[in-house]
Symmetry: D2
Subunit: 437 residues, 4 copies
Amino acid sequence: MTKFDSPKLAREVVVRDPVHGYIHLDTQVALEVVRSQEFQRMRRIKQLGPTAFVFPGATHTRFEHNLGVYELARRISNLFTDKYPSQSTGDGLWDPSENLLVQMAGLLHDIGHGPYSHTFEHLFGTNHEQIGQQIILDPSTEVNQALSKVDPDFPKAVASVIAKTYPNPQVVKLISSQADADRMDYLLRDAYFTGASYGEFDLSRILRVIRPYEKGVCFTANGMHAVEDYIVSRYQMYQQIYYHRVNRSMEVILHHLLKRAQYLYQEKELPVTPSLARFLAGTWDLQDYLKMDDGVMETNFSMWTESSDPVLVDLTKRYLFRRPLASAKINEESKQLLPQLKDLIKKAGFDPDYYTGVGSAFDEPYDAYKPSGKNANSQIEIMQEDGSLIELSQLSPLVKALNGTLQGDERFFFPVAMLKQADFQQYLKNGESLTKK
Amino acid sequence: MTKFDSPKLAREVVVRDPVHGYIHLDTQVALEVVRSQEFQRMRRIKQLGPTAFVFPGATHTRFEHNLGVYELARRISNLFTDKYPSQSTGDGLWDPSENLLVQMAGLLHDIGHGPYSHTFEHLFGTNHEQIGQQIILDPSTEVNQALSKVDPDFPKAVASVIAKTYPNPQVVKLISSQADADRMDYLLRDAYFTGASYGEFDLSRILRVIRPYEKGVCFTANGMHAVEDYIVSRYQMYQQIYYHRVNRSMEVILHHLLKRAQYLYQEKELPVTPSLARFLAGTWDLQDYLKMDDGVMETNFSMWTESSDPVLVDLTKRYLFRRPLASAKINEESKQLLPQLKDLIKKAGFDPDYYTGVGSAFDEPYDAYKPSGKNANSQIEIMQEDGSLIELSQLSPLVKALNGTLQGDERFFFPVAMLKQADFQQYLKNGESLTKK
Amino acid sequence: MTKFDSPKLAREVVVRDPVHGYIHLDTQVALEVVRSQEFQRMRRIKQLGPTAFVFPGATHTRFEHNLGVYELARRISNLFTDKYPSQSTGDGLWDPSENLLVQMAGLLHDIGHGPYSHTFEHLFGTNHEQIGQQIILDPSTEVNQALSKVDPDFPKAVASVIAKTYPNPQVVKLISSQADADRMDYLLRDAYFTGASYGEFDLSRILRVIRPYEKGVCFTANGMHAVEDYIVSRYQMYQQIYYHRVNRSMEVILHHLLKRAQYLYQEKELPVTPSLARFLAGTWDLQDYLKMDDGVMETNFSMWTESSDPVLVDLTKRYLFRRPLASAKINEESKQLLPQLKDLIKKAGFDPDYYTGVGSAFDEPYDAYKPSGKNANSQIEIMQEDGSLIELSQLSPLVKALNGTLQGDERFFFPVAMLKQADFQQYLKNGESLTKK
Amino acid sequence: MTKFDSPKLAREVVVRDPVHGYIHLDTQVALEVVRSQEFQRMRRIKQLGPTAFVFPGATHTRFEHNLGVYELARRISNLFTDKYPSQSTGDGLWDPSENLLVQMAGLLHDIGHGPYSHTFEHLFGTNHEQIGQQIILDPSTEVNQALSKVDPDFPKAVASVIAKTYPNPQVVKLISSQADADRMDYLLRDAYFTGASYGEFDLSRILRVIRPYEKGVCFTANGMHAVEDYIVSRYQMYQQIYYHRVNRSMEVILHHLLKRAQYLYQEKELPVTPSLARFLAGTWDLQDYLKMDDGVMETNFSMWTESSDPVLVDLTKRYLFRRPLASAKINEESKQLLPQLKDLIKKAGFDPDYYTGVGSAFDEPYDAYKPSGKNANSQIEIMQEDGSLIELSQLSPLVKALNGTLQGDERFFFPVAMLKQADFQQYLKNGESLTKK
């Protein structure tokens, strides 16, 4: 296998980061990738999309997150190089010649994301993973040009790590697994910017106990509780931040307003910026995609507030000025009441197609911890003193409790105005759950 | 004087804030102002503009800052109500019927800001203070409608506090003085989001020692060091964050690109969104202003990258993709070298009008601490046990050192490419200062 | 029932505290109790005893902890007074005339503790709860004198809250329950001083959602995750700090050295300070008890290093100079190997009575969370919007997993030197567990 | 010069530390020194002595501080080894073979301290620097035995670094200079444990900009503000923590009670533990010194509360139960009033020899920043890009303001009871300063 290297900078460039202290850009290629157009564009895409409507501090962007994942990959690979250098092929230790590769894969793992990823993808058929591969592999991008200076095969190698097809599982698992640099960074970062202290875990301890083994990365026995704490932090962040009902409600509105815009674009004229127009028309290319960011979307929304279509005007104002839908938990049984409720909503003057929605948090774009999944490799393993591995949930009662379960809820979203109608309200218990009268 | 009151909410609404823990919206009017279109719009205007190009965490917006100033005004006015309630007019203590007024003035003190305030104002002749007054006083705004429910005279009172014409100096000084809720919030908030720990000061201690007196607010003697620490934090934040050379360099580029756009708009067609067009044409109104935000500006920049004007294309790319100018410190003597340097820059193919600039940090839109200024009231006073006042710099050697001085520097900005030219480089000492060869 | 009140101080005294910011002593009685001899003495008794041998930062004392519990009781009772004031007897809300009582009970709940409480109690038959009652009720103490100034019946009332016999369960539960001011303070404080970040939980959020109900205190529905997080923090602190194997090993040594001293005291002369002598002789009184602190114990140990008894000398040096025993996990099955192991230890020259021990962490002096216990009242209840209560483990999968289980382990302690003996080592698996060869 | 080395441990031992995260004991000698009797003894000596009477969290000991200085010396020497390795003698860079030496000097720099160092030294003529040298050099100590395993000359080398006679100034300055590992640790540590946030400075940034030069250590130009911030933190800690009037008042009491005990010891019998007796008798040796700690002192005080001498009883109770003297600022002029005041105090029944004192904070055992002192080497130098050095106060207006000044005050201490006497009170202005009536 080709081994990749990039000259160390005579003087490393550091970036102040409130989560990790400093990001150290110490190779030529790291600096050039960060300075590329495609990477700089991520400054304009919020990491958590509409979550800032609920937690106003959450204005941080994918730019900082990608830097953070890079920094963790850098620290871990340097640490593996010091503590666990491979002596011979197949000894399950770390090959220092993988350092640059894992660092660049960390830096670029999310490069394909656009604004409001999941809603956007759903409506326009884009795929951030494919586009990410394209950005890395297409010779027209500055990212590709920077990587290619290392070696003509380097972009392909980086792309394969992100696509999880790279042969060395240690490299792949550092970027994508139940306890990877990606998740470590976003949990800490999202906790910092939302102000949610329960998302914090002891990174310095995790870094003390992480180690390579032949099938990936694992943790030494004295670090079991640190890893357990990390899993609990994940659970808390999902339940309290990522799955927050108001957050999800804003995504419902976003989806409906873009759906309405698609419809209007086909019907008649809609004021729209050129690149978004090509998405509505289905004729977009990579250059259009690279122009998409949160500001472009909101600028279009802002223009739509002067549209002649009252539904579009109302939905965009609800989005821009944060006027969420109300919601109630539903289950298989109470779902049967939805037709009745939609009737009431219709009678109140709201088109159910645009003013209601059903959203399951399990469908949310963040994968919960499932060590029992098909992919045996994705388990978190704790290495005993004798080198044997024990799967985490065998050791931790907390992780065992979460193991293989689905946490979250399914909700029905509807206009807040309905809460004032007595015939509607009788379906709600504790203002929270849909229930038979 | 009319005394203003708003019903307390049966259940207060809280907003999680990483700086203050929670923002407590406990009155009807606070909730309604926050939910207004004009207030929600501030979510799309970064507090520190281009500073995020240097400190990537600094993506926080004027929305959170205004909430933070409100929360501090709320805490301080509640605390004054408990500890220093006025017993009779003119006793120098606090009149609890001012609480609502000072809280709303805190919430709305920055409501007139648009994107990149200073550059924008300079080029388009807008004035965020006048516009702020208009937003509060114009019956068409949701802000005015919310305030008017308290009392028809309430908007005028709120506006007068922000304009510093309200008769009670205690209320005015809590919002605008050398140690007001505004600065306390932005120093702490900017420190948190940039990750600059030197901007932190001991807010809990400041809140313990702040108190009203007849001419405003002052601090008790046991709190001298806490106030001293706050002043030092201000100094550090200005020198290290607000006046950062790369930050200022990005503002130079921003200014030049907008100037070029103005020129091109008059000459020929420039792709531009409708509301920004009206600024370029000089025909804007309040509704246009309220549509301006960071995203709208950047969306226009993004469209301009496809312009046929190479200067505009280059400048917008430099801005969008963070390609700052280099810079060197100058003084009265070394300024005389600028014509020679500009000649070299011109020879290298850069139009000095668009690729150089002179920027003085003293001109920056943040006023430094000047207790010796004409306005005697703006001094920070320390109240002794016998009720007498001593001005802070009389007590603190550190504040005395800063008192009345100008800190900062003046810089000449130029293309990075010039650093590689030997005949240019000879003018630079330590890569930092312009100097005779 | 008599209602108790104490004059508010004209100027409250504050104490800087790294955990809560400031402790506010705002009543005459709080100030006098804190200044009493019996309270000041707690400055000389470490909160976590030998834990500082493992986590060197853990030098904090019972003095600060008692202040912290007082401060939390003060904040919660003030908050209940504001948000949930009782309108009529039996309405399940809070009677503000209980404030002073609950604050003093918080301040004094641990006043009976001596050095190394559990070991000391076990060997000398003292009981910190009885002694605490005595300190509060005996007219000779400064604590009693301070309390009696409020009302002659006040000491009795304070003592009854701590003894859990006071009739109002809200007052009792704030001081002693699964989620009381005591535990909230010690978890946060112990986490701060040990540096164990996993012990942190979101106190500001807990204080937002705590509320009174007729049978005690509970939490509102929107605070479920905050309470869940608190329970997980408890679990982590117990597993990682309080039950740390080295910590327990030092307690085994401490127990053995005091046992040896008791034996020697009866046999022949032992150099010993007067008050400790009376404990060894079994003739101690309250004044002797109040002279006991960590320093007195260690001063005696220091004198014993010159004893003529080699076992005592060795054990005291092991304690003073931190030379812990090694240990291995045992279970019912592996326990059967202990006689064989003790034989090996004896052969190696160590008296098993003084150089081995069996310690079960479940016996440790910190009670784990058992909501299913006999006392139904001790459950944590989450109040729904309609006022109904749901027990926490019904709502949280994490708490359900911990509910009613015993976490921890049982260990066999033995001299480190044994680890070098091959015939001994074969009984150990992964250096951790006792196992059949 | 002999170069010293110690085997790296196969598995480093880490100690959790709330200030630095982890202390890494990675060499055999570091582990053995930490485990020595003489080092473990520092667990029983508080870093800040009576300061815990004012800031109750300040119970941290010299043990943790010494570990912290070691850890900083370890990090800095490792960092110098990576970034600035010497290529040839005299090139002003860092010789990695000094690493072990500087680490051990950091670990042992305070090993000679006893309880209440300054008061103790003053009364008993001990000298912690001499005793520290003795502990390191005397073959009877476990510290010496551990060091000697590295090389028979190693103890002498370590002692010479601490005595500042070692030839390489880089090694000496890392341990003793205006910006050394010692001060960096104690400022951060004392801030953490007292809860004084103003003592914090940005260690991560200091570590980024520190570098060796031929005469010691200096800082790169981009780090000027970080160093400036550190100096300001020092100033704040001295003014607010170390020189706190109550802290100093407790030291006055301590001094007087020990003086009284000395007097009584000579006059008649005083109950006293054997080792302290030898200090009172002037016959102590190193073994006695090594038995002294805070607990031994307090145990003696506790015994003295039953003395037949009422002055001793009163003074020890004042100390043990924190009953400070009051105080007022004095200057050359107001000092002339002291005889009159002492007369009043005498009339009130207090012996001025034991109940008053004059204490100058400038005499306090913490040296303030004096870059203009005789020793030119002790200045803090900022290295410019061209390698030239500029002294810090030339660059920073804040440091310039503090440069060469004496901060602090002189105070007269007297019984609190005097504050109630009108004829005494008239001498006090604002309850703070002594002044003519």
